[in-house]
Symmetry: D2
Subunit: 364 residues, 4 copies
């Protein structure tokens, strides 16, 4: 959950628990589908569980928040697949089918849909888990009810019609969790600060400066990541990296010479965060330029002004009809994509993608 | 909750607990507003609590379900007010201010708005309570968070901007509870059956037939209710009436001579309910006529066919901008009705009134 | 739960839900035992579920509270068994095996032990259910954990050693629920009042007085119950009786001529209860006599004094080593009765039977 | 919670949240006592909140688990008090009264009793919190009910008699949490491993070996702690130390030359834990010697045998009548220590101190 813990003090849960939770939900979904007469072999059952256990293995510390700062240009899904391939080699091909489910080459599509879809087991786990640990009741969905209403028709995952209110609740819970938790402005500004720190360290290293801190982290920040991550030693550093490396390094950097690195590190450790403003439209270039100048003057260093005033945007799309269609089966067995379903037409409009623009500066 | 217990076996909770719950929420809201500096006198505080404790006192057994069958033409709010007047007389005017809050003649409008509004204490209590007892998690709203975000400006109730996600959740929870619980088709058909039974008993009594059962109930069903309820003896019968009178009578009526009364009573007691179909458009007169004829033939009695095939509609309006405006106050202190607020425009369309049409017949 | 609702306003739940809950737990226990390799036939599985669904069918309204006032000398287990026999006849012997489990004649003893034992499915359901509806967190036991630690050895039910803390919690939760909820002094005095009312009605009927009220109830109160309940018409009246009959009758009796019946009925309806004192030792005969005389004087009628001052006792035994031994299996497979187990010796002393004596009078 | 997270994957919560929670409960207790008429000045109210916010500030990472390995001979209470004194100096004496509450020199004793007692706010917070995050329902106590039953008599904290069942539940919940969670054998063996690692590092440093890792940690492990912690630079290293320093160092030590340090570090990181046996009596010296010899042979190094076989004991005392008496006030206002109270005599015997002995070895 990135740095949500700066806002929701209980949100310390991590990937490991989420991976166990996903596998647990896979077991429940498999049991429910078997009971409904869907033929699933032991090998398929194991493969789905493996796929869910490993699907997020490519995430580094702090998850999405610093993915790009650590390995620019590589998506975590690529790393997950790469790591699964490494493990597959080590275990003589035991993950072969799990891999084909993961990259959607397995012919029975519902296995992949349970993993990656509008209402997949991944989301069923993390929404409920994040709601529990943050205390944001808005995300507390009824995952067992949703699982019990899954059905498979022509190897496609569909939901029985009577799931419609629970699906509606799910889509809305996801929307609310995005704005209230995942994109909460204080988490967001903390994570942006963290990225700024790593970017600054990368810059200093590229200029030949020596930095204290975790060797794994320094190695990653000194190298340009390449798409061929797994042909280099980099991936081992990435795998060995965890929160402790990042926190330890940032604590060390509080004593570093470079003012920007030192000050940003101190700010994050002492929760002396930047100010953040959010609005529905983009901030103007002029406004930014003026603020950069103003803060450059405050710090008597235009480079600091440049670094300490920044803007960007975040987007949340509750439902996308393009990629993964959510299918609903009515009492007569007809299957329609939910966004074409009478009861969901209005909902779809309401939950369309929303973009918010932010602007950060030091606090006055 | 009418006969929701036929679908949700835990939903036995009653008005008494709801009344206590509303008074409890009133105490919380008063404490929170006082802390924010709203001046509220001891008398006003007591009056609001009394108003909430008594606001539903005019409900008869099974609530909305059989209101019209018992006292046709009189709304429960009228009865509540009438009973409060009786009690007010008995207690030498101690309920005077509570009455003025109840009928919205008290000048400081926020007191009435806490009682009757889009997001009032009544709804905050019943949504959470009904969600708890039915197990329908969709209605589990965060009432203490909503209360803590209430504010009073110019004696109007407003919500602070940061309540917006909780308000969104509230409006959606209410929408989902309507379709999933309050208008659940099995509760609905049970309640329609109950109304049919009472209507039939009223008809038989008007024809001079003698019926067993609770005297209070028989008295009510034998009389035409008048607007001047409180000038007659009827209101005493109404006040003395509870679920036991209704159930006892229906149990007795299983042995009554009239086939329709006997059979409908047996059906309700033994949960041998009618079939119910629901759709978005009205059922056609022809279809109804044909079904009436068909069931008349089955029972070899056209009157039974007439009585056992019936249709109607139910409507749920999550938010009505006409009557009680929900006001939002932004950081700068501006106050706008929520339905004009940028973030709620799409929501308002999505939650507009929906009507469902039903058709009931015996089961094949 | 008798009249616990007079103290815990949410405690409206009834036998029907408990029966469903017990059957549900039976399904969970059966699935868990099967997974552990215990051989259970489909017939046995169904029989256990039936036994749990019907085990309390012999309870009348208000449960234990008025059992003796309605059918003196007959235990509810006898009635349950009798009703199961009637249903068995109706369904051509389909309940044969369930009956043998119920009356402990089935050779594989663990089925009966799941139904009646120190930690049986009946108790697992009602403790959790009563805790939920009363809000008394003290009874919130971990029933799924306890079920998952059940094992069968030589057709005896045993608990795995690692269940020991959960068993300890269970025994204490039961002890606390007894004193805090089931034997709460306000529930107790309400239930004693209810019994007094029924006893008074029985006396008046035996003297030839005519009373209003439910026919089923009046029939039961007019007859001496015999052990051969099922050879008479009485059992049909008993089966047809529910809470509505009792409440309806008591409401009617508020207008009855007899002062004691009229006054006690009014007291119960209006919650104008008696005063109750509780202590660890018996109340002295002299004290009672003096109080009876005193209250006789107040009411100017010695018979009222006689009726309105009464005493008795209640006992709670958390664990009885005599009848149903709770067996624990250690890691090495040894099985010992829990009361001989090192870790439970002290607990057993602490949870030994406790008796409390009560004395009731009108309030001063 | 030390390394409980190795057993209960959700148990990531930390001191910071606990400190906030304690302060929150202090606010609730203060409000409740004020409402009951206990005179409490604003200064006292603030002092109690400060005392609860800071009471655990002297805890290092992993809490009790490694306290002795980091600063041998100094209790965390001393460090807490020392740090509070430092902050007091910085804030010109603002913590003076909080300090006197903390060290029990403040004359009104109930303030200290709310902080340190049999049933204090510290315990009320951590039992409920630990139960929530571990999922061990056995510890889920009713803290708001207990707080609402606190009373102050002659400046002593007492509990109203009606709290007796809740107190009983509290004492048992604490007992169960100790054995089921805090002293769970897998947490215990993980924490013992962690201590072994730190002890080994300290030994190597004392022999002049150079080690990688966090400077703060290495400084602490290189120095003998003295009672005069605050006159040295050591306390600054201690304050700067957090989990990241410890984890980062242990991750580094996996590549260290010394076999024992390297292997133990790898074991902890990879969860390749030692085996642990627990029993009620002490393990025999002979048995230990034989095992040490045996494992020395396996590793072909008697020093490894010496280091990898070790034993010790853990004790849990649910209630101690010696130090902090828990006082109960009956209806008549009499105050008695709970361990002399009739209803608690048996309980006290049952919850007396229990010692368990453990023996650890590598896994076969």
């Amino acid at each position: 959950m990135g740095l949500s813990v700066y806002v929701f003090p209980g949100a310390h849960h991590n990937r490991f628990e989420h991976a166990l939770g996903c596998m647990h939900l896979a077991q429940k979904a498999l049991a429910s589908l078997c009971e409904k007469g869907v033929a699933i072999s032991t090998e398929e059952s194991e493969a789905l569980q493996i796929a869910l256990l490993f699907h997020d293995i490519g995430h580094g510390p702090f998850s999405h928040a610093i993915e790009k700062a650590l390995l620019p240009g590589i998506a975590h899904e690529q790393i997950s697949e790469g790591l699964m391939r490494e493990i597959n080699n080590e275990f003589d091909g035991a993950l072969e089918m799990a891999l084909s489910i993961f990259n959607n080459s397995y012919p029975r599509k519902f296995f992949h849909q349970l993993l990656v879809g509008q209402v997949d087991l991944d989301r069923l786990d993390y929404l409920k888990r994040d709601s529990f640990y943050t205390g944001a009741q808005e995300g507390n969905i009824n995952s067992s009810r949703l699982i019990s209403m899954m059905q498979v028709v022509d190897d496609q995952l569909v939901f029985e019609q009577k799931a419609s209110y629970s699906l509606e609740k799910f889509l809305l819970a996801r929307r609310l969790m995005y704005w209230q938790v995942y994109l909460h402005k204080t988490s967001l500004v903390s994570e942006l600060l963290l990225v700024k720190i790593l970017d600054r360290a990368r810059l200093l290293l590229s200029e030949g400066k020596l930095l204290d801190g975790s060797k794994h982290l320094l190695t990653l920040l000194s190298s340009a990541a390449s798409k061929d991550l797994f042909t280099t030693h980099l991936w081992q550093n990435f795998v060995a990296l965890d929160d402790a490396d990042v926190w330890y390094s940032i604590k060390q950097w509080q004593q570093q010479e470079d003012f920007i690195l030192k000050d940003l590190s101190r700010r994050l450790i002492q929760r002396d965060l930047f100010q953040i403003q959010m609005q529905n439209s983009d901030f103007k270039a002029q406004e930014l330029a003026a603020l950069k100048k103003q803060w450059g003057a405050v710090y008597q260093d235009s480079k600091v002004g440049e670094a300490y005033v920044f803007s960007g945007s975040v987007t949340n799309q509750t439902y996308s009809s393009d990629k993964h269609k959510l299918l609903l089966m009515d009492g007569a067995g007809n299957i329609i994509p939910i966004h074409q379903h009478e009861s969901f037409t209005a909902l779809m409009k309401y939950t369309k993608a929303q973009t918010q623009y932010y602007l950060c500066t030091p606090k006055n």
